[in-house]
Symmetry: D2
Subunit: 239 residues, 4 copies
């Protein structure tokens, strides 16, 4: 059983134009991805929830945390950000989506600004760079997102462990749209998902996020950080 | 002083339509990049030269080898390929251009097929992904190649050390157009340069290749491979 | 079900001193690692088998290939080496053990010499560098191999994707003893296993190899290489 | 001309036992490394200086920042830490030494805890893993530090871009002692340098630090961060 927690700031979701395609919010659309996965259990955390939806209890019981945020990055308290990061360091998977490139958590894990170019109103084609990657399982060699915000290079991130997708935009830009890192837990940043368009209803996008959850799930239930230890020499050795 | 050797199969170069923009061949156009670099000395090796232009003497005196090949990859003898690879393992820089993605040397260094999608007759825009990289020095954030062959993902290479450029093609594809590896020596694969178009006369392209030579130059003159050594324990230790 | 194929040159295995600890050969000891894994099916291929144990049929039915070789690297035919590499490029996992650092297959995948320092008769302690890695699951933070051949740096490999283990040797050397790469399929090189000592009977070593098989298993049954394709522009685009 | 700034918390340096080998402080010993480098200009910043030695003016004029800290990591203000990081993102090189693995700056750049095992009173042997790396120039294949604090794996860092050195400790541990990253500017973490021993007077250690400065120096004088830009489509394109 994989415990997936979907965190959403849930702000745009209250606008009528967003409700038109996401009647249950972005988190509702994302939760639906796993409705037929018998071995996945989904919980939801929202910015307005107690502890901002990021309590110790909730995170300790999470294998993979999906994150959607945009307008309220700064509202997430530093205490909660530190707690999320500690659990990722301990092995929890993390999947920041779209504008979560600027979330405090992702920036802190990258150690860079995560800045990029952007423009509303474009069309994207995602190319699979690594067809053998578990996250690309079952996808065609490329697929389209008819309406999407443009994100373009330079994308200020460390050299990714793996570049799974590159996005082509009709307006003339390209972007490393799906990249992996690890910081204890496994991290997959995935660019698509501007709130104004029903991106998370796209079957290929849903497949990517589902695959990513299986890929990011840790092999141990309990999150354990690497400690700083004043260690005796191993038995039988002397310094 | 950096000794640059430009190797070219020199086949297309004999056609009139290629001579129209490269009257001295592709190697001539590439050599011209360094005409005002006081600390660079250029030599040229061609497939038809003695030892296919890849003699021990020539390579021992080369700091960075630039490689252009397309139709005659298989004509380069395995002995010469092995010699080139040995010098790269020993520290020599290597800059395979365009269709050299399929050269025996580059494929052997990658350990992958280096396959990709391709199509004649497109237009490319190169985006700088890593503006602090020495190879991107002095470039604008993006620049155009009005006519270029399309190379598209998936590009079957190992995860590059660094992705310096991503190419956007008007026909709808994107590509990791400038990527680095090291295998003893430093390697920069750079995608632009289809022979039918005067790509190597483009000022930005020339700047990239010039920068890449400075980046790939080894710090030692002599190429020295890592050996397999049956080694005694360091002094004072006993196993 | 994961199909594991264990390939062994099976030469040392015929000596009495080796039979003393490996009565069924190195391949027999390795096969025993999976005896209680219900979802793993093991087959064995030996150098003396028909097609050197590396037929198209056998490889097409293999998810993960474990490889032990030492004296007979050059006896494996280039045709068979190419076939193995093609299957790895197509997604098959590959686990070269100990002296397989010098196997034709591993060297070709690395694109480097894979040279190193070595010395008989040492004692090793393996340190886990990445305790969250699937390959390190269930291991203590370090463990001992009382008798092992020393392998020391410099190890002439590309920068690994991940360094899972570092080995410490009593004679004074250190080594990147467990490293991952991917070349289509996932690759885990693991240093322990000199034939003169019963290393593959060590419970921690067996755990590493078992974990590595689960880690390296591809998500698709069929091996599919990335092809070179002259591709039309995606529908709706024009170059 | 390369402008090197040596930053030191300058606390241990005031103890008699430290003054015995570092009469001008750790910063003084480090500054001496460059005394015969005509193209290097050294400045020093100390925790007790105005702006903690990290003013905008000082950093804007720095190409490579060397950092030694241990007891006072938390005393460096967040404002100053942010300023240092901004300059590194803009291209400034950064060389954190020894216990600076736990400096706020290095941890923030890594996005991990940078925790490790440690023990006073050991002996280290550094092995060169990448003899072609500019940082390893002119070194023997290994060298000794007769007295050094042990730092051992697991070292909680992201997969380094390059592993230049691995350290072997007489007490039984091993460590990735010299590793590179880039976050805009180039970063080299180097483990040796416990204050109780005259490590920075060791000729090989001094060579490493000198080499690292040349390696980390940016190609542009001015530090420029990647910005977040709401960008119009490139000329001639329409989204």
């Amino acid at each position: 059983m994989i415990n997936v927690r979907i965190w959403n700031e849930n702000i745009h979701d209250k606008e009528e134009r967003i409700k038109a395609h996401y009647p249950q919010g972005i988190h509702g659309a994302l939760a639906g991805i796993f409705s037929d996965c018998e071995n996945v259990r989904v919980t939801v955390g929202l910015l307005d929830d107690e502890d901002q939806g990021l309590s110790e209890e909730a995170l300790a019981d999470t294998d993979v945390l999906i994150w959607w945020g945009h307008h309220a990055h700064d509202k997430v308290t530093d205490e909660n950000v530190s707690r999320v990061i500690r659990h990722i360091h301990g092995g929890m998977g993390f999947i920041p989506l779209h504008s979560a490139h600027h979330s405090k958590v992702f920036r802190a894990l990258c150690g860079t600004s995560c800045n990029l170019r952007w423009r509303h109103g474009d069309r994207e084609r995602l190319w699979v760079c690594d067809p053998h990657h578990m996250i690309a399982r079952g996808l065609p060699d490329h697929f389209e997102i008819p309406a999407e915000e443009m994100y373009g290079e330079p994308f200020d991130i460390p050299s990714p462990d793996e570049t799974v997708f590159i996005g082509w935009f009709s307006g003339g830009e390209a972007f490393r749209s799906g990249v992996t890192f690890h910081r204890g837990g496994r991290i997959f940043y995935f660019q698509p998902g501007h709130e104004e368009y029903p991106v998370y209803l796209n079957e290929n996008i849903r497949k990517v996020i589902r695959n990513a959850v299986y890929w990011a799930a840790p092999c141990e239930r309990e999150h354990r950080c690497i400690e700083c230890i004043n260690a005796a020499a191993p038995e039988g050795e002397k310094a």
